[in-house]
């Protein structure tokens, strides 16, 4: 008798999710949202990914574009069914959130 095979939807690989975030660039600063320290939390529950992030300046003209880019990029990661991006202003972004490489790219120590 051939057993019935039940397969669960693949859970997204956390590294692939973070890799996707690292491809979303701020087109003004030429740095990705991870290096800039804009992403506060990433929650992966099954195929649902929830991202809490901020922007360098409240009222940034690129607000909608960057949030939408994060959603679109993560939706292409294997195993991701839904993406929920929330932009928050508390805590506010500070340069301390950036990686050393990003700080060097922007020209300050």
């Amino acid at each position: 008798m051939t057993p019935t095979l039940h397969t669960l939807a693949p859970v997204p690989d956390p590294d692939a999710v973070l890799g996707g975030l690292a491809e979303v660039l701020d087109p003004e600063l030429a740095l990705d949202v991870l290096s800039l320290g804009l992403v506060y939390t990433v929650r992966i529950v099954g195929g649902a990914v929830a991202v809490e992030m901020t922007l360098t300046t409240p009222g940034c003209p690129l607000h909608d574009s960057i949030a939408a880019a994060v959603e679109r990029r993560l939706a292409r990661v294997e195993g991701v069914d839904t993406v929920d991006v929330t932009v928050v202003w508390d805590p506010p972004w500070t340069p301390a959130s950036m990686t050393d490489a990003a700080r060097r790219t922007l020209g300050f120590d």
Binding site: V24, L25, L29, A30, S35, S65, R72, V85
Partner: protein, 426 residues
Amino acid sequence: MIPPAAGRADPPAALPLGALLVGTLALAAGAAALATRPAVLASAAPTPAFLALTHAVTLGYVALLFAGTLQQLLSVLLVTRLAWPRLGTVTLPALAAGSAAVVGGFARGFEPGLLAAGGTLVTLALGATALQAVRTLAGASRRDAAARGLVAAAAYLALTAALGFLLATAPHLPPLARLLGYPVGLHLAVGLYGAFLLGIAAAGQRLLAMFALAKRTHAVRLRTLTGLVHAAIVAELLTAFAHVPLHGVATGLLAAAGALQLWEVTALLRVRLRRRLEPPVQRYLLAHAFLPLAGVLALTGHRPGAGIDLLLGFVVLAVSGMQVKIASFLTWQGRYAARGGAARAPLLRDMLLPGLEPLTTVGLGAGAAAAALAASLRSEPWANAAAVLLAIGAWAQLIQTLAIVFGRHASRAGRAAGSAVPKEHA
């Protein structure tokens, strides 16, 4: 899934972009016309040709860019929905057509029909834009000093147009002329300081903070600057209509406002995180060097030179710098935002022809300085030099704007040195 962040329903980007393009075309056309008769700079007298050229810059370029940019920038600054988002489809073409008629009316030797038609269109268009700005501000929950200053600048721009319309009409309506006099000083003060200085200070504070990553802006300085401009314009109003001799007081207040703007920009630069600023931002900063020069020219009795220095040096240089940033942002939003995250979208700076930026900055900057000298010294050689330099700068700016809006922009694979996934995240 996208948060209702700003909750905005902005007008299509084509609307402000169209205003930017038509405005830059007006600047380039004005510069080309100046090159054919540079002597008007040396006289700096209110001749038809001089008035046509100055209005090509003030109405055709600066006012159109300001009104077009408001259609996007105001909702961003106020984090709210723009009131009457389709209004720009009427006001911006009306402003462009009205500006062309006003310039044509002056160029044809104060042609009354063109001046009346153009003045009406410009006044109505800028009046409606000011009402739109006030309505947007009234509906916003967050009203900071920058947004308030920008709305006040929109109101002053409408007042400038109305005063200009009165000035053009007065010679044909003697009773009106007797009633109001000929308040040309008021028209200049409201336009140069109320609309342009305040607009540049308000929008520039926020934009410079954004482009330079300056994290500590001081609203108190901008609020004080706004208050000084308001007080100076009240003093000019009293001088013009109540014949109270307060022109000197107004000049002092405006000088203090200019000094505050210098202080604010210097303070922002001191706390900026981004050390290397892009060429258009550098041009915006360079514009501020013309503020003290205007003060020196005014104090030494060269008022026409000071006015030209303020208009071409401070206003045009600052606006042309921010224009490049705004045009690239609007074009990116319209053409590439949907690709964001796909690593194929160009960066904003990839959309520029970098070789043109020095040409624009040197052409407009050196041209403005030469024009101010030409007017102050009544020197035709300086006027000739100014005309050539300004034409180079204005046409470089036009080509840059066309390249941003219509060019094919290549993205740079692996372009950002800091874009690799950092170890702590991977």
